[in-house]
Amino acid sequence: MNIDDLKNTWKDDISDEAPEISIEHTNKINLPLEKIRRNMRMEFWSTIGILIFGFAIVWIPVAEAPFKFKFYLTILLFSMVIVVSFFFSKFFKLYKDISSPMMKTYDSLKDLMYQFDLNKQYYLSFLLSFVPFLLCELIIVIEFLPHRKPLSNFQVATTIISILAVGLFGLFLLGKYWYRIFYGKYVKQIENLVIELKK
């Protein structure tokens, strides 16, 4: 068969094997953005789960701990819940607003790629927003945990600064790695399509 015959073969394909029209969604996830949205939803609930676990840890096993210690940690965890909810509400709003399949193909792919990139930036900011909370929690733990010998100013400063440096770097790397593992393949796929259309 040569390429000119294809048009005739194409026009000959008038079989009635097409499924019935239905405007319901199948709930199967086959679009990259929907996959990301589903992963985000799972991440949201696991983060909330971790924070609830954090509340439980603060209030149950250390019942004898000073009220101030538990109160400060609770306030911090509660603030983290607010930050998590804020970021995830942004993520979900982003997915609701984007990806119009009505755009011209090139624009639609570019838009999708841009949104992925924006999402990545949100994601890294989200992870880095935990740094001040973790730092405060560290300070509270250092201040309240009984030590056999009180820590010197130098020890306190080096502990906090080194944990801050490692924490910042670690969270940044973790965010990038996590994003690449979970979402990288979709981003790469769209990038390749844009390049293919542009070159």
Binding site: D12, E17, N30, M102, K104, S108
Partner: protein, 164 residues
């Protein structure tokens, strides 16, 4: 069903054959084709309230269908089976003419399936007799670029067909 839903179903019913042909171009598995068909229908329905009639309904629909098909992901489970082209649904019939037709169709979709998603879109517009200007408008690239890409896609397809 509301009147707008009825209107939509009535309108899209006429085009369901072409939507399924797009699904066959993009997916080699029967279940994936049905999923893609359903996804396209759903995406068109979601966008339907924004259809202003500035272009023909079919042109508007093809754009959404191809944009959806280009980024559509095969089912994870089915994707793990390499080379699972399911062309068995082309019915083998006794009538010699039909058998020849089915074989040609099977060969055509098998060949098209080997192209990348962008080339498939160009081949679709070629098969549907779209002009360079119309394709440029649908794809959002220049007419010159369309010519280059169309030739490239057709050459790739030719090579695949000739290698059989």
């Amino acid at each position: 069903m509301t009147s707008i839903e009825q209107e939509f179903v009535h309108k899209i019913e006429k085009h369901k054959g072409i939507i399924f042909k797009i699904s066959k171009m993009y997916m080699d598995d029967q279940d994936d084709r049905k999923d893609l068909f359903q996804e396209i229908t759903y995406q068109v329905w979601k966008a339907y309230s924004s259809f202003r009639g500035e272009s023909e309904f079919s042109t508007w629909l093809y754009r959404i269908a191809l944009n959806t098909a280009i980024v559509f992901l095969k089912s994870e489970k089915r994707r793990s089976f390499i080379g699972n082209e399911d062309f068995t649904d082309y019915k083998i019939v006794q009538d010699e003419y039909d058998l020849e037709k089915e074989e040609k169709l099977s060969a055509m979709y098998k060949a098209i399936n080997q192209l990348n998603p962008i080339d498939k879109a160009f081949i679709f517009y070629y098969l549907e007799d779209f002009s360079g200007k119309e394709i440029a408008d649908q794809m959002g690239i220049s007419e010159g670029n369309v010519r280059v890409k169309m030739n490239r896609a057709k050459n790739k397809l030719k090579d695949i067909l000739n290698s059989k």
